[in-house]
């Protein structure tokens, strides 16, 4: 399995208010949230992007609020994955918990330019820039987080535990 799409570049400290402004938080419907993905960073983003595309951010991507609506909006808009130099910790947790693939790579975040064709092999943490013919490595996830991701998110993982406790 791999993710392939066009890169959309954003700067550092992209906050969750830019990813999904609070004026849309009176709903938790993923379809509605997806329509406003990245709106305050780039008002035309949802119109310009295509399904499968990849967001590339700088340091501290997803800083600010704990709103899970942020990774939900990105996922629902059709973005396949997010690469950043580093992630804010609540966003990082939320993305893993809801199954939005994220990759931490300062190297990739720096080298990739807007519009580059990117292919990611998640199991190996390899990011390929097909436009430039370059390859970057993403930091590996700790084993525990890998097990959440391979279960399909935290809810599937916890569901198994709830069932075990019952038996």
């Amino acid at each position: 399995m791999s993710y392939k799409g066009k890169a959309w570049k954003f700067g550092k400290n992209i906050d969750t208010d830019a990813i999904i402004p609070a004026r849309y938080l009176n709903t938790s419907d993923p379809g509605e949230l997806g329509k406003h993905c990245m709106e305050d960073a780039d008002p035309q983003f949802v119109e310009k992007m295509s399904t499968g595309d990849i967001i590339v951010g700088g340091d501290n991507f997803g800083c600010g609020s704990s709103r899970e609506h942020a990774p939900i909006a990105i996922k629902a808009a059709g973005i396949s994955s997010v690469i950043a130099a580093s992630f804010a910790r609540i966003f990082y947790r939320n993305a893993i918990n809801i199954g939005l693939p994220i990759f931490e790579s300062a190297e990739a975040a720096k080298a990739i330019e807007e519009g580059d064709e990117i292919e990611i092999e998640p199991s190996k943490g390899i990011i390929r820039n097909l436009t430039k013919g370059e390859t970057y490595n993403a930091s590996p996830f700790p084993e525990f987080m890998q097990s959440i991701m391979s279960a399909g998110g935290l809810i599937s993982y916890v569901k198994e535990q709830v069932e075990q406790r019952r038996n």
Binding site: A18, A41, P43, R67, E68, I155, K159, R166
Partner: protein
């Protein structure tokens, strides 16, 4: 090698003698918190788990505070989901409009968060409770859902940065200025994934309200938690409120810190964070001419009685500038009552301010004071991101309550000294 207070609390909640930074642990939680924005998502996920009930009806706290009193039909539907969940599962600590407060003002006041606790909340400012010597951190809705079922959550044990505040505080300098100065120094990712431990002689003499303000903004430096060792000031506060036992932890002298940062506070003036990041701080003497359209005093950062007292001290007998709207939001019903008893509300209203029931409201651009394109606000809240309080073309400047009050009088950002 010794342990920090954060490491000790985490170790106690996994039943181990010690944990080390980097360890991934599955820890028991004492309190799980959610609000009207985050709990509906958590409830939807919780129902997928097939759990027979919540892990502890008394340890889940639900506070609809963001868009309440309900600002529109969609918000009303969100609150309804939370209310019905609370009824269905017999949640003891559900706080309805009229009896509620802004969650991070309310929980400490109600004695629901205590020293030594491990607290998670589906709200990034959950780190506020570090002021009572608890490990408290913000999580998302799915984490909240899992914790409501299991009473557990996973954590990576953070490294700790120790901050030492020394010297004598200047007039009008508060906890807000110390934390803004700190964020200005280390940056909005300066404490990413790390614990921030606040220590030093200055801290010992700081009120609980000021400590809540500091711990509240640890997240604005990227911190996982902000924490103070419980001392006499803290115990005086919690002993009056606690209805269950608690544990006091403190850092060992030989604890290992990722970094130790010392500040001489006698160099610190009241701080103002310019748009659009909390790290864009300047001392008040360096602000220049910044005209404002609105001033907001309140929020989980600065909506406590001490904040209202200092605002009233500045506003007493004065009139708000004709071009400014001043909105004051006491943090809880109890704080509002106290402000009425002390005559503060009368001072505010006579000065020309609007005084609101407790709500997060304008802080996140929800309701009760949204900014139009091109408008500028000074606010005692915690974030000044693009569009935070309304239109993406508006601007937010962060400051302490005295600076916000003085600026409301002058119509431009200024030092309280200018109007006293």
């Amino acid at each position: 090698m010794g342990m920090t207070i954060t490491e000790k609390i985490l170790a106690a909640h996994v039943g181990r003698d010690r944990v080390r930074p980097g360890d991934i642990i599955n820890a028991k939680v004492d309190v799980v918190l959610g609000n009207d924005v985050t709990a509906p998502v958590a409830i939807k996920e919780f129902e997928k788990l097939g759990a027979e009930g919540v892990f502890d009806k008394e340890r889940i706290v639900l506070v609809p505070d963001h868009f309440t009193p309900n600002k529109d039909i969609k918000a009303a539907e969100q609150s309804k989901i939370v209310r019905e969940f609370a009824r269905k599962y017999g949640i003891v600590n559900y706080f309805e409009v009229g009896r509620m407060g802004i969650e991070h003002c309310l929980l400490p006041e109600a004695g629901l968060v205590l020293p030594g606790d491990l607290i998670i909340g589906a709200d990034s400012h959950t780190c506020t409770y570090g002021a009572v010597g608890a490990f408290a951190t913000g999580v998302g809705s799915t984490d909240m859902a899992a914790a409501m079922a299991l009473g557990e959550a996973w954590f990576k044990v953070p490294e700790t940065i120790k901050f030492i505040y020394k010297g004598k505080l200047n007039p009008w300098v508060t906890g807000k200025d110390l934390i803004l100065y700190t964020i200005g120094d280390i940056g909005v990712s300066g404490a990413l994934y790390k614990s921030m431990e606040f220590t030093g002689d200055v801290i010992k003499n700081l009120s609980m309200d000021a400590r809540f303000t500091m711990a509240n903004m640890a997240i604005e430096a990227g911190g996982k938690n902000g924490i103070f060792e419980p001392d006499e000031v803290c115990l005086e506060y919690v002993n009056r409120r606690a209805q269950r036992g608690f544990a006091i932890y403190s850092s060992d002298k030989n604890a290992d810190y990722a970094q130790v940062i010392e500040y001489d506070v006698s160099n610190i003036e009241p701080q103002v964070a310019f748009p659009h990041l909390p790290e864009n701080t300047r001392p008040i003497s360096d602000v220049g001419e910044v005209k404002i359209d609105q001033a907001v005093i309140g929020s989980c950062t600065n909506g406590r009685i001490e904040d209202l007292r200092v605002a009233a001290e500045v506003l007493k007998g004065k009139t708000i500038h004709k071009n400014v709207r001043l909105i004051i939001l006491p943090g809880t019903q109890e704080i509002l009552l106290q402000a009425i008893r002390e005559g503060l509300v009368e001072i505010f209203i006579r000065a020309g301010a609007a005084v609101s029931t407790p709500t997060c409201g304008p802080c996140l651009g929800g309701h009760m004071g949204i900014l139009a394109n091109g408008e500028r606000a000074i606010s005692t809240t915690n974030r000044n991101f693009v569009g935070r309080m309304g239109h993406p073309g508006s601007e937010v400047y962060l400051a302490n309550p005295a600076v916000a009050a003085a600026s409301a009088v002058r119509g431009r950002i200024c030092s309280p000294e200018e109007v006293m």
